[in-house]
Amino acid sequence: MNKVNSAIEKILKSPVTDHVVLSYSKSETQHIRFSNNSVNRENLFKLEEEVKAEVGVDGRTGSCRTNDLSEDGLKRAVAKAHETAKLLPKDPEYMPPVTEAEAKTFKDYKPEFGALTDEKLYGILGEAFGEIKKAGLNSAGSLSANPYTLEVYNNRGARVKHSNCFSTFYLTAMTGNSSFKDFHVTKDFSDYNGKAFLADVIARTRLSENPAPQEPGKYTVVLGPAAVEELLMMFLWYNFDAKAIDEGRSALSKRAGASIAGENVHIYSKPDHGRVGLFPFCPDNAMPYREFDMIKDGKLASPWYSRFYGAKKGAAVTGLPPANIIFKGTNKPLEQLISGVENGLYVNSFWYIRLVDMMDGIFTGMTRDGVFRIKDGKLAQSVNNFRFNQSVFDLLQNITEIGREKEMVFTSIPPITVNDFNFVSKTEF
C-alpha cells in the first residue's frame, strides 16, 4: 500500500459524514507530436496524480479535486468538499455512495501490456519519417502512450481498482494538395506492423493527390470507421440520456417505439470487452458499468441511465456515458464494401461535426483527409472535400452494408455503406 492509499484509508476510518468518496487517478502520458516530418514542441511526458474528494451531507453533495496528495492535502480537500456541501440546497437527485456489494459486481479484466520505452516510441517515428520522406510526402500526427490507474474508495466499503493502458499513433500524410489519415490504437505497439501500416498510408496518400472537382449532392457513400465514429458519438451524446428523452429534449422523445435504424444495426456496450473502453466502473462513484443494447432490431433498446434516473425509473444503471460503444460489425473488410459500390464516394473521416437540428437529429460537418470517388467497385480518384447536412436517423435507416469493426480507444466501429448521404456544398481543396 503506498502513501496515498494509506492516507485515504485513514480518512475513511473516521469519515466526516456518512458519505465520503475518494477517487485516486494516476496517469503517465508520453506524447510525441510531429509535423513537417519532425518532432515538434509538443514532445512531452506528464505524470499526473489527483484525488477527487466527494462529501455528502443531508442530501447535498460537494466535491474537490486536488493534486496535493499528502495526508494533510487530502484532508483539506475533504474539508472543502464538506464545507461546500453544507452550503448547498438539498438536491432532489441526491444519491448515497454505492455499497460494497454493488461495487463488487463490476466485471474486471486484467489487460496486459509491455514496456513503452523512449527507444520504442521514437523508433516507430523514425521509421515513419524515413518511409514518408522516401515517398516524397509530408507528415503530421502524434504518438502517445498512456498507462493509467484508477482507484475508488468510499466509507461504505467500496474498493475498486483498474489499471490499463492505451496507446495511439495518428498519422496524416500529405502530398502538396491532398492528405490521408490513418491510425493505430493499441496497448503497447506489440501488434504494430510498421511496414504494412506505412505502405498502406503512403499508397492511399498518393491516390489522394490532385483531387478532382466534384459537385455536392446525394451520394452512396462508404464511410470509414473513423467517420462513422465521429458522427455516431455526437448523435448518441445528444440523444441517449434517458432523462432528456422523458423530458422531451431528445430526438428520441418523439420516436418512442418507432423504427430509428435499419434492422442490421446493433449498437451496444460491453464493459469487459478488454480492448475498448477505459474503465469497467464509473470513475466518479465506483458504480459498475453493465452490458446492454442501445439500438437493436432497428429500435431503441435502452437509453443511458444515471444512478439517480435508473433508480427513479426502475431501470438498470448504464452509466452516462456507458463503458464503451460497440457497433456490431461483420467479417467484411473495407475493400469488400468499396467493391460493392458501382458509383459513389469513400469518406475516410469527418471534421467539425455540429448539431444543426436537435429534434430531427440533423448534423453538419466536413469531410477530411481522404475523399475518393468509387467507380465500378474501386477507388478511382480523389475529389474535393464536402460539407454535409445529414439526419443521423436517415443514415441509420439507409445502411446497406456493414464491414469489419476497427477498435479505437473508447469504441469499436465498422465501416458502413450508406445510400443518399447528403452533401450540401464543397471546398476549394
Binding site: V39, N40, R41, L44, C64, Y122, F129
Partner: protein, 478 residues
Amino acid sequence: MDNLSEIVNYMQKKGARFADAREHLFREREIFTEDTRVEQIVEQDIDGTGVKVLYGNGWGYACTCAKDMDSLRAAADKALDLAKHADKCTDFKVELAAEPKHIAKFATKIKENPFDVKISEPVDALIEAGAIIRKVKDIIKANSNLVLRNMRKKYANTEGSRIETDIYTVLAEIDATARANGEVKSRHYLPSPMNAGYEYFRGTDLATNAARIAEQAREHCFAKSCESGPTTLILDPEHLSLTMHESVGHPSELDRVLGYEESCAGRSFATMDKLNNFKYGSELVNLVADNTLEGGLASIGYDDEGVECQKWHIVKDGILSGYGVCRELAHKMKMPRANGTTRATKYSDVPITRMPNLYLAPGKTPLTKEQLIADTESGIYIEGRGSFSIDQMRLNMQFGGDAFWEIKNGKITGMLKNVVYNAISYEFWRSCDAICGESEFRRAGFITCGKGDPMQAAQMTHGASPARFRNIMVRRAK
C-alpha cells in the same frame, strides 16, 4: 522563484540551448445548475511545475506536481532526455526571436476575490434565474453555469526573465429550453466572460435576462421558417465573436499556417505569401489583436514563453496584416519579436500559440443597431451563437445562431427559425458593408477554445459592434 531559477540554470549547465520553468496553479470553482437544483460543483486546486528544454533543435517538456528540488530536477532531466530524442528526429532549425529580459509582475485588477465569496451566494443567484425561467409557459428546462478561475504562475528562463502573474476569470451563462408547437428551442444569455473579480458576476443581471430568454425560447418555437437563398445578414457582437474566432482568429495563428496543427486543428488558407496583399474583408474591416486589453481573457501581462503581451492588426482596412506568432516561428516572418500570445492551460500543458483577444473595430460613424436595421430593406438579424462548423483550412463555414429575426422594409417583423448560413470565410468578410459605431461595441469571449495535442482549452476575448453582410447564402436547416 528560487527553485525555478535553479532548475533553468541546471538545464543550462547540462547543455540546453534554452530552458524555462513555469510553476502554474490552476484553481477553479464551476457550478452547474439544472432548473432549481445544483447539478454539479467542480472545485479544482491543481498545481505543478513544467520544464521546457531546447537541446540542439529538439524540444522536450516534462512536469511534476511535487514541490521538492529532487522532483523538479527529475522532471528537468526527463525534458532534456526528450529534447535529445527530438533533436535526432527533426528537420527544424529552431531560432528563438529575441525578447528583453523581464523582471515583472502582472495581476488582474479585482475588487473582490471570487474564492472568498461563500458558494451559496452564486448558487442562489443561479437557482433564482432557473426559477424565473421555469415559470414561463412551455419551458421544459433551465440550465446555468458559473466559472470562477484563478491562474497563478511563476516563470523563469535561461535568459534571466523572472515573471509572476495572477489572473482571475469569471464566466456566467444561463439557458432556457422551450417545447411547443412541435419544436424544441433554446435561448442563451452569455454576458462576456472577463478577467475580473467576483464584482463582475454581481453586475451580470441574470434575473432580468432569465425572463427575456425564456420568453424568446418559447417565441422561437412558433417562428416561421426562413427562406433559402442569398440575403442580407445583420449580426450582433456575440454572434460575430464566433465568426471572427473561427474564420479569422484560428487561420491567423502562424503555427497553423506552417503546418504544426495539420493533424488536429488543421491548417490555414491565410498563408504567409498573402501577408499585406490579401483582401480578407471589405475596407471597413479592421480586426485587431490586443492582449493588452484591460479585462481581456488573454490579457495576462506576459505569455508562457516570457514575451510581453502586445497589440497588432490581423486585418487592416480589409488586408491581411498579421499573425499570432511565437518565438520559434517569428524568424519565418522576419519579425524581430514574437507578439506575446503563447499560452498553456495547466502546468502539464506545453505552451503553444493561442488566439489573442481579437475584435472587429467599430465603424467610424456613430451608427446604431436600430439605424442599421432601418437602413436594411430585407434580411435577417441574428443574435448569439448556434451551430458552427468550418473546414480544416478555415474556408467553408456554416453558422446558425441563437435567435433570428426577419427584417422587412427596415423593421423587425418577427422571429424566424431553422436559419443556417454558408459562406467562404474571406468572401463573408468582403461582403461587410456597414459596422455600427463605438457606442454599440460589446465584448464576447470564450474560455473553452480547443487546440493542441494533447488538447488544451484556452480563453480569449472578442468584441464587435453589430455589422451587416450582403448576399450571404442562407439555408433552411430542415
